[in-house]
């Protein structure tokens, strides 16, 4: 027998809330035409969340909605909403109706009552407005009046049935006892609705931390776990989960950090989209290097973001101008955006959200953070570490080249490894330290690591002047490293010695040349002598031969002239040649 055909799975219809991060972690938003329960303690953000969803639906999709306020008055809600950029009064004309469902304290209760009346009213209003959304905010206030838990349950079911009948996307908010994490008296509501979101507000290390968690979502995947949220100008922003796989493109383009020798130390400069960490004790000029990088980026015409947790923008610019770095011009042109944040009152999470907003607004290609370690001041080191990690990944995703500074006490770079632990994810790690010797303090710069490129292992000295920061060689010979004036002395000594050697060499060279010339001259003279003697010899030989020849010729001639017998004498030519003898 054939199996009956399997039904195609229908994905649950969802409706976006427009709330940053929430739509991501819920896989698309709230369930359409179903009810969502939002629970949380006082001040945890339930009302803001619900109202924000309503506002976004109206602004982004033109959908109308009704907000039934049981706990607060309509006036209060409008006043609170004015702190965000929703423009609620304008929307309240046509698209969002706020129903003041607050029971006056002077009302007397006699016997049981129910919610059928208000539901009838809401139905009429919904039809008139064609509303698709409805929020019941603070329903626990109303239900408390019913007193009887059985009656409460009945009324809640009445609401739920009514919502289902009328095809509305609904949000119900209720107060929760934060200690026991269970909705007081309304535990069963969680089973009745399709989606449950829990808001939590607690103090961590003295700083308020807000979180939300989706604890139930019928028929859908969702990111379980708590996610931090903060309140920005547009309302709630949730820190959405990152995709689990790290996928970053690696660029081969290099950017200059502003100091030629520094770029050379790194094999040409920093990689585009990489992260660089500069660590060092206070006063080692981290901010100077960072400032130079920022200035150089602006000079290339790239938008840059300068985030400081230590000093205000004006102070930074004034300090940097004393070493020849001018940021003011770039701020005015709009290329450079400077942001100074206070670290004590905000949690690391809130800083991350703020930085994300800044990045989105300014769209920088280069970014500096000075110092990142300041994020650990409020809210505990664990949170700061997580945030630091996410921040770096965020910047890699956006292909921003970033330079971060971190403070470490003392001179040991190993200490950074235990603090924020960015040193493991940063691509390049530069350490600045002090060398104190002979009453002088000099700054040393070393590259601890640089991924993907050759880098120099040599310590260099960082020198600041009005022309800007510069790197110079250190004197390193005979196993010692000298900086500052000691180096200068030693270098001067070296120079002098060098010159002396050079002079000696040249002198010796000249001497040898003279000697050579001398010898050559003598050789020449001797050669001439030799030539003269050879000539003399040749001449004498010739002469000798000629004399012998002429004497025999003369005799021949004499005999001829005398008429002697020539034949009796042999041919002079036949006469054996005379042996050459010294003429006596």
């Amino acid at each position: 027998m054939n199996e009956t055909k399997r039904a195609d799975p229908q994905p649950l219809a969802k409706i976006a809330t427009g709330i940053e991060g929430f739509d991501a972690l819920s896989g698309g938003g709230l369930p359409r035409n179903r009810t969502t329960l939002v629970m949380g303690g006082p001040g945890s953000g339930k009302t803001v969340f619900s109202l924000q969803a309503l506002v976004n639906a109206a602004r982004q999709r033109g959908e109308s909605g009704i907000f039934v306020a049981f706990e607060e008055r309509g006036r209060e809600i409008m006043a609170n909403a004015a702190t965000f950029d929703w423009g609620l009064p304008a929307l309240a004309e046509k698209q969002i109706y706020i129903l003041d469902a607050h029971l006056s304290p002077t009302v007397v209760q006699s016997g049981e009552f129910d919610l059928s009346g208000i539901l009838a009213i809401l139905k009429a209003k919904q039809e008139a407005m064609h509303a698709g959304w409805i929020v019941f905010d603070g329903i626990d206030v109303l239900l408390t009046l019913l007193r009887d838990p059985i009656v409460e349950m009945r009324e809640i079911y009445r609401i739920r049935d009514w919502l289902a009948d009328n095809e509305l996307t609904a949000i119900i908010t209720a107060k929760m006892d934060s200690q026991t994490a269970a909705v007081v008296n309304y535990g069963f509501m969680q089973f009745m609705v399709d989606c449950v979101i829990r808001f939590d507000r607690r103090l961590e290390y003295g700083v308020p931390a807000h979180r939300l968690q989706v604890t139930k979502y019928r028929g859908s995947d969702f990111a379980s776990g708590e996610f931090p949220l903060s309140f920005g100008p547009s309302g709630i922003e949730v820190a959405a989960p990152e995709p689990p796989e790290i996928i970053h493109e690696a660029s081969t383009e290099r950017v200059s950090a502003g100091i030629e020798r520094f770029d050379a130390m790194l094999g040409g400069g920093l990689f585009r989209g990489s992260s660089t960490l500069i660590t060092g004790a206070p006063g080692t000029s981290k901010t100077t290097l960072i400032g130079k990088f920022a200035e150089t980026a602006c000079q290339r015409g790239e938008r840059t973001l300068f985030v400081s947790f230590d000093e205000g923008a004006d102070q930074i610019m004034r300090n940097l101008s004393s070493v020849g770095i001018d940021l003011q011009a770039h701020v005015q042109s709009g290329l450079l955006r400077m942001y100074s944040g206070r670290t004590e009152a905000r949690s690391a999470e809130e800083h991350l959200i703020k930085l994300r907003a800044l990045i989105r607004d300014h769209q920088p290609r280069c970014m500096v953070i000075d110092p990142l370690s300041a994020m650990a001041k409020a809210g505990g080191i664990g949170a700061a570490r997580a945030v630091a990690n996410r921040l770096i990944h965020l910047m890699k995703d956006s292909k921003i080249t970033v330079v971060i500074s971190a403070l470490i006490e003392g001179n040991d770079p190993q200490a950074e490894a235990t603090d924020l632990q960015i040193s493991t994810i940063a691509d390049t790690w530069i350490h600045l330290s002090y060398l104190v010797r002979s009453g002088e303090r000099n700054r040393a710069l070393t590259i601890v690591k640089s991924r993907g490129t050759w880098h120099s292992n040599q310590v260099r000295e960082l020198v600041l002047s009005e022309a800007g920061p510069m790197l110079t060689d250190v004197y390193s010979a005979g196993g010692e490293v000298l900086m500052g004036t000691l180096r200068w002395e030693k270098e001067a000594e070296e120079n002098a010695r060098q010159q002396q050697r050079q002079a000696e060499f040249e002198h010796k060279q000249r001497e040898l040349e003279f000697a050579e010339a001398d010898t050559r001259a003598r050789i020449k003279a001797l050669e001439l002598d030799l030539q003269r003697q050879q000539a003399e010899l040749a001449l004498y030989t010739l002469d000798g031969e000629a004399r012998v020849l002429s004497s025999s010729e003369r005799e021949h001639e004499l005999r001829r002239m005398r008429g002697a017998d020539l034949s009796t004498r042999t041919d002079p030519a036949a006469i054996p040649p005379p042996q050459f003898r010294e003429p006596s």
Binding site: A101, G111, F113
Partner: protein, 108 residues
């Protein structure tokens, strides 16, 4: 369902002291039906006809109920004489109703 009961008393002075009330009900819902019955009993016993009562059905006139600020049903509003008062519930607790209407202490 809408009923107006106006019973004119013979004494003109008593007209000024007449109780004017409005009861909002949700159709034939149990609490609402009970409220009407309870209210009529109280009126018979304590007001002896010196009252004006308007009954408004929220299902028939929802927008009016909205305008009047009705949240739960049944809901009784005393309009006159002042001070105004509002009572919610099916009016089963007679003592409270009398207290709210200012009839406590008057002889039945």
């Amino acid at each position: 369902m809408r009923r107006k009961q106006i019973v004119q008393p013979s004494d003109p002075a008593a007209v000024a002291a007449m109780m004017v009330m409005r009861l909002y009900v949700a159709g034939g819902a149990p609490n609402s039906v009970q409220a009407i019955a309870n209210l009529e009993a109280i009126c018979q016993q304590h007001l002896k006809g010196h009252y004006q009562l308007e009954i408004v059905d929220v299902f028939e006139q929802p927008l009016r109920a909205l305008a009047d600020g009705v949240i739960v049903t049944p809901s009784l509003t005393k309009l006159s004489p002042l001070p105004a008062a509002q009572i919610v519930g099916n009016l089963s607790d007679t003592r409270k109703v009398l207290l709210a209407l200012g009839l406590q202490g008057k002889t039945p």
